[in-house]
Symmetry: C2
Subunit: 183 residues, 2 copies
């Protein structure tokens, strides 16, 4: 899909960090005028809607520096270079929560902020969870607390603003839809 394509005239790398990089592209618009686009490059991510045998959603609470507060989210993490999303999802689930899933299924992938970033996040549904004895640990600069929430509790967390991000809002709505369809 190339409708209204914006052709690149030049691209300037402004920053290269450990998670993201930033470039400013000069483009030609469909009417021939020029404009600039500020673009964040991101390696992509996965997130997991993990459901316990008693139908609770596994969440992690962590501090998010960009928001200067902690939030409750579904388990998630960045893709490592060349890593398969499914493998990454299993790894992040184990590292963050200690659970392994015997039934993991890809639900949907979406860009989080298509206006300024290329971050694509892959969402998985994980069921048939088993607690691992010697679960792998995660990044040493990540501090998370694991929570298990009923759907009622998760809905309340959305209302209170404890759950406050796109992928987790999507996950809670997914569970609401599942319940409504009685699956």
């Amino acid at each position: 899909m190339k409708k209204f394509e914006e052709k690149t005239i030049s691209s300037e790398k402004v920053f290269a960090g450990k998670v993201i990089s930033l470039q400013v592209d000069e483009v030609v618009l469909p009417d021939g005028k020029h404009s600039k686009r500020e673009i964040v490059k991101h390696p992509g991510a996965v997130a997991v809607i993990a459901i316990t045998p008693d139908n609770k959603m596994i969440m992690v609470e962590q501090y998010r520096k960009p928001l200067e507060r902690s939030v409750v989210e579904i388990p998630a993490g960045k893709l490592e270079k060349g890593e398969e999303p499914l493998y990454c999802a299993a790894r992040e689930l184990e590292e963050e929560t200690g659970y392994e899933s015997k039934k993991m299924e890809h639900l949907i992938s979406f860009y989080t902020s298509p206006g300024f970033a290329d971050e694509l996040i892959h969402i998985f549904l994980a069921e048939d969870l088993v607690k691992k004895e010697n679960a792998a640990a995660g990044d040493d600069d990540e501090f998370v607390e694991v929570l298990e929430l009923t759907l009622d509790e998760a809905e309340e967390y959305v209302r209170m603003g404890k759950i406050y991000d796109a992928k987790t809002a999507y996950a809670v709505q997914f569970m609401q839809l599942r319940k409504a369809l009685n699956r």
Copy 2:
């Protein structure tokens, strides 16, 4: 919510653009170690789930330079400085689609990428739409085509990857839930 707070030691402004800016913060982690956080600052945004009298979703197709392709999204736009989200939602709906809503309601707000950006998007439901005679025009560097999709068509667009972003995936799921609950 300050659990696992990361205290800022220093903050370096790396880039200030017309849409986003970027800073790198040095922080102290809960265990006393230091780390760096790359943070994109964004003014915030609105998006509108706009439903026609015959229950179609109004969408816009536009080119997204970060993705190097066009995608189909619900109408959306950035908050201007000091602008009320509800006002902004009405403005973007009119500018992008020519519609005015007699019944606009805030549904939810969420951060799109809490790991690296502070973009908060406010989602509104707009019903009782009226086509305006002399609708205001949008930004002169935006080229969009307006589409009206049934829920079946929107679901097909998700499967085909024509709809490919978080807020629009949320919007389609919202309509699925609404239908399942028979509202």
